[in-house]
Symmetry: C2
Subunit: 327 residues, 2 copies
């Protein structure tokens, strides 16, 4: 089996690549070839014994999508995107990468389909940013997409394209609306939502972290491990069960910041919790209040997607996967 | 005031142009200039005393959108589209006209905004085809857009673009999700939904009409006069009341075919009804069953959009506007 991962150097791309290298299979098929693409060349995952082709490319430059599709990968994971803040700061770049790049990919697959019947599975990473406030809680599967960012708009448009290209029979597509991924490994970054991870990851490593919002803020989370699990399931499940509505809100954990802190206390004690410094930031509080508090995700659960049921579990996943099993 | 109408030779474009020519004003502003655009040059409306510029152009050809915007119209009505059947038959043409053409227009306005602060009102004709079966009845305002045609997909994407360009401050946009327009004037056409109009218009003119579906089929209708009313209201209302969710399902009349026939009987008698010939068409029946039975349209009603409350009224509008007042 030949697998193409676009956005393979990002957090999710790296984790998925590592998982595929470790498993050596996707579903019941051996992974013979990995084509890994990002704006910087991704690394060959440790222990992978098949053929790995690591490519530095910008999907939105003419000809790139056709080149990536020319090897006729059986499964395409498309994760590449300009993040929310950058898509808001640079309108043209956001549309070029997040919309035109994705459409170029879909078009390249369509033209290959017309040429020789090529029919890959396409797994697209969408986002809860496709919805916008005011939001009910929980958000039902049939809630409308009225994004309040250009990033969310671009993801919502790509979801529509994915459904239409699938309905027309050009490829077998599925869109995965990811919750906020928590605990993100690595250093604190400048994403407005970064604190959800920072207030757990940093104290677990003995470092201080800043909490810019009240404890009452509720949001929708899943672990990196579950996010990879969604992608594997999306790539291997029977899509005929999904029908024409190809974009699914993934299951996750709806939790307040207070829930996060109490889980940290249970797993790592008062000393860890004491490392959280409260520094309210009105701008982040305002943004936060518009974010999704949680989804029903009924269809995804019925289709076999699973996620954590407590923040204790999310913290344990981080300790196992990032800290070698010891907090 | 300078008004640009793209798609001015279509049914809705012609009716709106005639109304503007007759009123001489839009809201409280005199209409000084009409720029009328379509793939064939639209006609100058009878009785219009201002400047009319009639242009044959395809919005999706490079440079066209910038040229149309160069006169800095105060209000832009964008109705131009490849219809559903053609967008389904010709995938590339549908996306080129319905998506790329609209995006070109929005981009031309954005670039003009960046140049000199240009900030027009943009009224976009969307469609109930943005939703797809299975559908609740009535369909709430916050129901998701999961179209089952490429046409519906293109309209849903343009709705998302319109909201984002508005949110970013490039123009003041509003998307109008039109019900099926009934009674369409003119000859019977090949649109699958044509029978809704045919079974009324033809008998009113003493002609036979074919009914290809059962009497129980329920659908969502409004008259051409109301559709023009929506556009005028959209162009003149205070949009600050609308907030960021800029695409509105219009009010309409939810009625079965039986309701239509009984209204015809009340207005034009048994003789007219006897001209309806039942010829079930399984393909049309299948399509029909996926169409919208009716919308709640609560937000649009609260914002002052109004439509007919009975099919008797819809028939009377046709008699007044198309048949000189006499059935």
């Amino acid at each position: 089996m030949h697998i193409l991962i676009i956005g393979a150097a990002g957090m999710l791309g790296r984790k998925l690549t590592q998982r595929l290298a470790r498993d050596g299979t996707l579903g019941s098929s051996p992974v013979a070839t990995l084509t890994l693409v990002d704006v910087v060349a991704p690394e060959v995952p440790e222990g992978f014994t098949g053929t790995a082709d690591c490519i530095a490319a910008d999907l939105s430059t003419p000809g790139t999508a056709a080149r990536l599709v020319s090897g006729r990968p059986d499964v395409i994971f498309h994760f590449a995107a300009i993040v929310s803040g950058e898509a808001e700061a640079d309108f043209e770049k956001g549309y070029r990468i997040n919309l035109d790049g994705t459409r170029d990919l879909f078009e390249a697959v369509r033209l290959a389909h017309d040429t020789d019947g090529y029919f890959p599975r396409v797994v697209f990473a969408s986002s809860i940013a496709v919805v916008g406030a005011p939001l009910p809680f929980p958000i039902p599967d049939d809630f409308h997409t009225t994004p309040l960012t250009s990033y969310g708009t671009q993801k919502a448009i790509c979801e529509l394209l994915l459904s239409d290209y699938t309905r027309r029979g050009f490829f077998d597509g599925i869109g995965i609306r990811l919750p906020t991924i928590c605990i993100r490994p690595g250093k604190p970054n400048k994403a407005a939502s970064g604190f959800f991870s920072n207030i757990l990851r940093e104290p677990l490593a003995g470092q201080e972290a800043v909490l810019p919002v009240p404890d009452t803020i509720r949001h929708w989370h899943t672990s990196p491990r579950s996010a990879v699990g969604f992608m594997i399931h999306a790539a291997t499940m029977d899509l005929s069960r999904v029908g024409p509505r190809r974009n699914l809100s993934m299951p996750g954990l709806s939790a307040t910041v207070a829930d996060q802190i109490e889980a940290l206390r249970r797993v790592a004690g008062d000393k860890a919790v004491a490392l959280i410094r409260r520094e309210p930031d009105p701008a982040i509080i305002r943004m936060c209040e518009g974010w999704a508090p949680g989804f029903e995700a009924r269809r995804a659960r019925e289709l076999g997607f699973t996620a954590e049921n407590s923040f204790d579990d999310i913290i344990r996943v981080h300790i196992e996967d990032e800290l070698g099993g010891t907090p």
